[in-house]
């Protein structure tokens, strides 16, 4: 698999490691704009190919290789450039185009431009803090990139919430597990859920919004 990573900073570091793990025999080409970083990348990742390019020559490279590129990850330290290269790659029919954000507030701009795969590296901050402080109604543990679904943690604060969550799981036949108040993992059955537990369910995001509304509004 031929993967192109644009940018050679810290975002590229994790990208290259993941791509190498996915396909150890594949080609990874990093396009960077400074010769100093190119030298460092060669030392850090001896298995990758590096290419020194000017900012405006990247599109030319994409055009020339559009029928050979399988994955393109736009991971420069500028969201404006990431958006520009991602848009250009989609236009040139690169099958998998991924943009990595520097500023999470720019995410809507990328989505508006039809960039299907946008990675927000800061997304875990909220869920981690909620988990550590242990104060939340719903915590997003993981969101899938290809489908509008995820793994969500629901905190059972009272008997009313317990009843609603049990009914929600039964009605939608959802896979779930329980993290008990003493931080132990338990599987079902559903009757075993108690007040104080955290129930982790995998479901569509619209379903989790619906149950959250019900919990908030007190509508059963």
């Amino acid at each position: 698999m031929r993967s192109i990573v644009i940018g050679g900073g810290h975002l590229a570091y994790f990208t290259v490691k993941a791509l190498r793990e996915i396909d150890p025999k594949g080609r990874i080409i990093i396009i960077e704009f400074t010769s100093e970083k190119i030298e460092m990348l060669k030392k850090t990742f001896p298995y990758v190919e590096t290419m020194l390019s000017s900012i405006d020559k990247v599109e030319e490279y994409i055009t020339e290789n559009q029928s050979l590129i399988d994955v393109l990850v736009s991971a420069t330290d500028s969201d404006a450039l990431n958006l520009r290269y991602a848009k250009y790659s989609i236009k040139n029919e690169v099958p998998i185009v991924i943009a990595i954000l520097n500023n999470p507030l720019n995410e809507p701009i990328f989505l508006k431009e039809n960039i299907k795969y946008v990675i927000n590296p800061y997304k875990t901050i909220t869920s981690k803090i909620k988990e550590i402080v242990n104060k939340f109604r719903v915590n997003i543990l993981y969101e899938f990139s290809k489908i509008n679904a995820g793994i969500y943690a629901l905190k059972i604060e009272d008997a009313e919430t317990l009843r609603k969550v049990q009914s929600f799981i039964l009605k939608n036949d959802l896979p779930f597990f329980i993290v008990s108040i003493d931080d132990k993992l338990r599987a079902g059955p559903i009757e075993n859920i108690q007040v104080g537990d955290i129930v982790c369910v995998s479901c569509l995001d619209k379903d989790i919004r619906s149950i959250l509304e019900k919990i908030k509004e007190g509508v059963g």
């Binding site: 698999m1 029928s67 399988d70 994955v71 029919e93 099958p95 998998i96």
Partner: protein
């Protein structure tokens, strides 16, 4: 003013009113439809709303004529006749529009997805009001009228799923062992461009020719041509005569 003249003026006023009302309702309906159907694409919603608006205006005109005491039966007959002629002469256009409604509402695939319909497969470049544009694995652009999507089953292979491609390499003069070894050497050259390790499915010897069937996994379907050319060059470089199917 005679009663006949008075009656004619009243009828003209009502006829004009019916046209104005039809135009007004058409505009209102257009706004409502665009608002509610824009989730299926603004261009699609606008077009659909325009068709309904013109339909309402024509209806208003027919009613106006009937108010003016022209024979309603004759008018209705003419309208139905025109409608049937239009329907027959433009049946393909209409069924393509119906196909578009199906594609927009049901969304069996999106732009960028790799699909198979009938014997045609390729990646979806654009979904239009009359057709869907695909690019095949050989790089050919294929235009499929939307009505086909109402008639044939659609297989949607996700755009990001690697495509499995079977290749048959025919050696004109070679032993089974030699053919396998040569193929593996050639495959090593193209491996970095593939999604995972290629596989030899079978090796057979028939009529003095050795046939090797391969399975390759490719993410970018447009790469197939390049892979075949690269393999051919590799064999040619080794001085081996082959055919690739």
């Amino acid at each position: 003013m005679t009663p006949e003249e008075y009656s004619l003026i009243i009828r003209i006023v009502f006829a004009l009113l019916s046209i104005v009302l039809a135009m007004f309702l058409g505009l209102r309906l257009r706004k409502i439809i665009i608002k509610n159907l824009s989730k299926f694409g603004h261009a699609f919603a606008s077009r659909f709303a325009e068709i309904l608006r013109y339909f309402l205006i024509i209806l208003g005109v027919v009613i106006a004529f009937s108010i003016l005491s022209l024979d309603v039966v004759v008018l209705t007959g003419i309208s139905i006749g025109i409608f049937i002629i239009l329907l027959i002469s433009m049946r393909d256009v209409f069924s393509n529009y119906a196909g578009e409604i199906y594609l927009r509402v049901r969304r069996p695939f999106n732009e960028g997805d790799f699909i198979k319909i009938g014997r045609i497969s390729g990646r979806v470049l654009s979904i239009n009001s009359q057709d869907v544009e695909l690019v095949s694995i050989k790089g050919e652009r294929i235009i499929i009228p939307n009505q086909f999507f109402l008639k044939y089953p659609i297989v949607n292979k996700s755009s990001t799923m690697p495509t499995s491609i079977e290749l048959k390499i025919i050696f004109k003069e070679s032993t089974l062992e030699k053919a396998e070894e040569t193929v593996m050497e050639a495959l090593n050259e193209i491996r970095p461009e593939l999604f995972e390790d290629p596989r030899i499915i079978s090796i057979n010897k028939t009529d003095g020719r050795t046939e090797v069937n391969l399975l390759l996994h490719i993410v970018n379907q447009r790469k197939v041509k390049w892979v075949i050319n690269k393999l051919s060059r590799e064999f040619h470089r080794k001085g081996i005569e082959i055919e690739i199917e």
